[in-house]
């Protein structure tokens, strides 16, 4: 019978079935300082151990300051959660990438870049954006704290099998549009609940042509459309991304793994419960205007007018969002003055995102009065960018060049918008108060965010030429960077 890649991995990890729930073995458990302490406490209270410390990895990302790491962590509660994770990791013999680790970063950036995430495995993490790891052909689920405790103790998770939805992306992206615009558009069309109960498999020519990092962007945000998880069948690009990564298989194991990974394709005739198709060549840069990611328009469009909506409850939702965002019905989104630009988060803070930003801002200046910050997705991303000399491009343009963490995306550290402040963020959620009380967040691609930084207003990135890779004056490029970052961008 024809099977999808998800079905193959699901079956490979099923230990038992009970009604409509499956007991799945968990090959990788990633955990961070915010959702883990109560799970560890639960283990301690009942004298339980972590069953497989060798499959469990902890890191600090949500709370960490992105300023100078030699300074003390000022927020007492953040410090306490970070200390608690370090203590728990020691007590339960788990590897931890702490505040000072050279491999510290956002969990969904670190997993793939260190080779903890590989095709064909099951991954869970106490974080909704765990779907990101599906970009490498892994079956990945965001879970709650109680489930996390269950995984610690049993290395398994009870899971209802999601229905399957095919999201097919065809065509070629026009210049200045990218994976972020595509996924924002999908959510705009399907709504925040459009994929509830489903696992999204991204397929089609446009997905095949995406770099691994772009695939992470679409899998990451599938969750904002309600998807339980997302996946892309693995290919040579994924293998190249992982080859030589510190935790990836090596030697004979690598050869064996490759053989297995080759089998992880969605068979012709595999059945999907739902299907959605998008021609990406039609897309213009997308940006959100409201308070959930589905409230999104093209950058050249106008924000909705409540009276367009026949349904009174829909009308109220739109009115409330416009009021919160401080926008007038029917106004153009482009040209709206902004205070902050944030390039960061598990959606768009990988090396290829930073290269694209550099191509747009090279030789240009951030507008006066705008605070523009770049928060690399991991300290490894930061070091790689610095070896290439990208940080000089950013600093010369007037960006803050910070250390890694979740930062303004969740505003648990000092990086936040003040009440009423407006920002263009490359992150994934524009909920009320998400980036700080009263914050007004517009989600967009790195290029749209960068162009907005230059103008001090929401801007259409298509008005800016992109510097060629050869014009960036790259100082040092490793084979990994050449293969996985520059080549997909048409260089190297």
């Amino acid at each position: 019978m024809a099977k999808s890649v998800l079905e193959k991995i699901w079956e490979d990890h099923t230990l038992a079935k009970r009604g409509d729930e499956y007991l799945l073995y968990v090959d990788r458990h990633l955990t961070h300082e915010v959702t883990s302490p109560i799970a560890f406490e639960g283990l301690r209270a009942r004298g339980r151990r972590v069953r497989r410390p060798d499959l469990t990895f902890a890191l600090m990302d949500h709370n960490v300051p992105t300023s100078d790491r030699t300074l003390p962590v000022r927020d007492e509660n953040s410090r306490e959660q970070m200390r608690t994770l370090a203590k728990n990791a020691r007590e339960f013999s788990i590897t931890v990438f702490d505040y000072f680790s050279p491999w510290q970063g956002i969990v969904h950036v670190v997993g793939p870049e260190l080779g903890l995430t590989v095709p064909g495995i099951t991954i869970v993490c106490g974080d909704s954006h765990t779907s990101t790891h599906g970009a490498l052909g892994a079956l990945a689920f965001g879970i709650g704290t109680s489930e996390g405790e269950h995984v610690f103790a049993t290395q398994t998770v009870w899971m209802r099998r999601p229905k399957q939805m095919e999201v097919r992306m065809e065509g070629r992206f026009k210049s200045h549009t990218s994976a972020k615009d595509a996924i924002l558009y999908v959510i705009r069309e399907l709504g925040t609940g459009g994929m509830i109960g489903h696992a999204a498999e991204f397929r089609g020519e446009a997905v095949k042509n995406m770099s691994v990092e772009e695939r992470m962007t679409i899998c990451n945000m599938a969750i904002e459309g309600g998807a339980r998880t997302a996946i892309v069948e693995p290919d040579d690009k994924v293998y190249s991304y992982l080859e030589g990564a510190p935790y990836a298989p090596s030697g004979e194991d690598w050869t064996e793994a490759r053989k297995y990974w080759e089998t992880l394709k969605t068979d012709d005739g595999a059945r999907f419960d739902k299907s959605y198709k998008l021609d990406v060549s039609r897309l213009e840069p997308q940006i959100t205007w409201g308070t959930n990611p589905a409230m999104c328009i093209g950058v050249s469009e106008t924000v909705p007018e409540p009276r367009q909506f026949g349904d009174s409850s829909q009308r109220r939702i739109v009115e409330r969002a416009l009021e919160y965002m401080g926008l007038s019905p029917g106004q153009r989104i482009e040209g709206t003055p902004i205070d902050v630009v944030f390039i960061g988060s598990c959606t768009n803070a990988r090396l290829s995102d930073l290269v694209m930003v550099a191509r747009l801002v090279k030789g240009r200046r951030v507008a006066q009065g705008v605070r523009a910050m770049i928060v690399p997705g991991s300290m490894l991303v930061k070091r790689r960018a610095e070896r290439m000399g990208l940080h000089r491009v950013f600093i010369e343009a007037g960006f803050e060049w910070r250390n890694s963490g979740c930062s303004m995306c969740i505003a648990m550290n000092e990086d936040r918008l003040g009440p009423g402040e407006r920002g263009v963020l490359t992150s994934n959620r524009n909920f009320e108060n998400r980036a700080g009380p009263g914050s007004r967040v517009h989600l967009a691609s790195p290029l749209t965010a960068a162009a907005s930084a230059l103008e001090g207003k929401i801007a259409d990135p298509r008005r800016y030429s992109l510097a060629g890779l050869d014009e960036l004056g790259l100082e040092w490029v490793s084979p990994w960077i050449e293969r996985n970052i520059l080549k997909p961008l048409g260089g190297g």
Binding site: L15, R160, G226, A257, R429
Partner: protein, 209 residues
């Protein structure tokens, strides 16, 4: 370990809003905790308190007639967004025992089951009707998990569906870890014994970055 949930009798409060994400249920600043207790005071914090932490007037659960509500009747897509289980702990600590909506965020729904917060999915029309009734005046519902029914004042009943495992978990309040280890330890070992080496992280060495 959650307490068994068999029957919930109490007042319902209407929350006329779709897409209530877990950031609204409890903001991220209240995730910096090391215990699940006492989170009720942060429930819907931004809707109930201003920037200086002073109570705002008018949020439904702060109104006199809904203060003792144990059932929340919401809209579409309740609990979407972040996986934070704190959302469930905050609702329960506040005294909410049941949420009725036409759809739920998947992770929120799963977290609710683990903690014994009953989430009832009804069609949009029924949700709207219940919400309207709760908004118009006192609405006391009598919810029975075993028979999957909601008794309305005046004797009318509505039925709902729970997946058998969800129902069992609610009725029995099991320690799931204990249950998994007792029932499936052999299966887990069997998988581990034949786990292929490339599925296990190798010993990390510092590569060329």
């Amino acid at each position: 370990m959650p307490e068994p949930v068999r029957r919930i009798v109490g007042k319902a409060a209407p929350l006329e809003m779709d897409d209530v994400d877990t950031d609204q249920i409890i903001p991220a600043q209240f995730l910096k905790v090391l215990s699940r207790k006492g989170l009720g005071k942060y429930l819907f914090y931004r809707w109930r308190f201003d920037e200086d932490g002073r109570p705002k007037q008018g949020f439904i659960l702060d109104q006199e007639e809904y203060r003792d509500a144990v059932i929340l009747v919401a809209g579409r897509n309740f609990g979407i967004g972040s996986s934070r289980e704190n959302a469930v702990w905050a609702l329960m600590d506040f005294g909410i025992k049941c949420v009725i909506a036409s759809s739920f965020g998947d992770i929120f729904y799963g977290n609710s089951v683990k903690n014994g917060l009953l989430c009832i999915k009804l069609d949009e029309e029924s949700v709207k009707r219940l919400r309207g009734m709760a908004a118009r005046g006192e609405l006391t519902l009598d919810i029975d998990v075993e028979s999957e029914t909601i008794k309305l004042p005046g004797g009318e009943t509505m039925s709902f569906r729970l997946e058998p495992n969800v129902k069992k978990r609610l009725l029995e309040g099991l320690d799931e870890i204990e249950e998994t280890l007792r029932g499936y330890e052999a299966k887990i070992r069997e998988y581990e014994a034949k786990m292929r080496p490339f599925k296990i992280p190798s010993k990390a060495v510092m590569p060329i970055e």
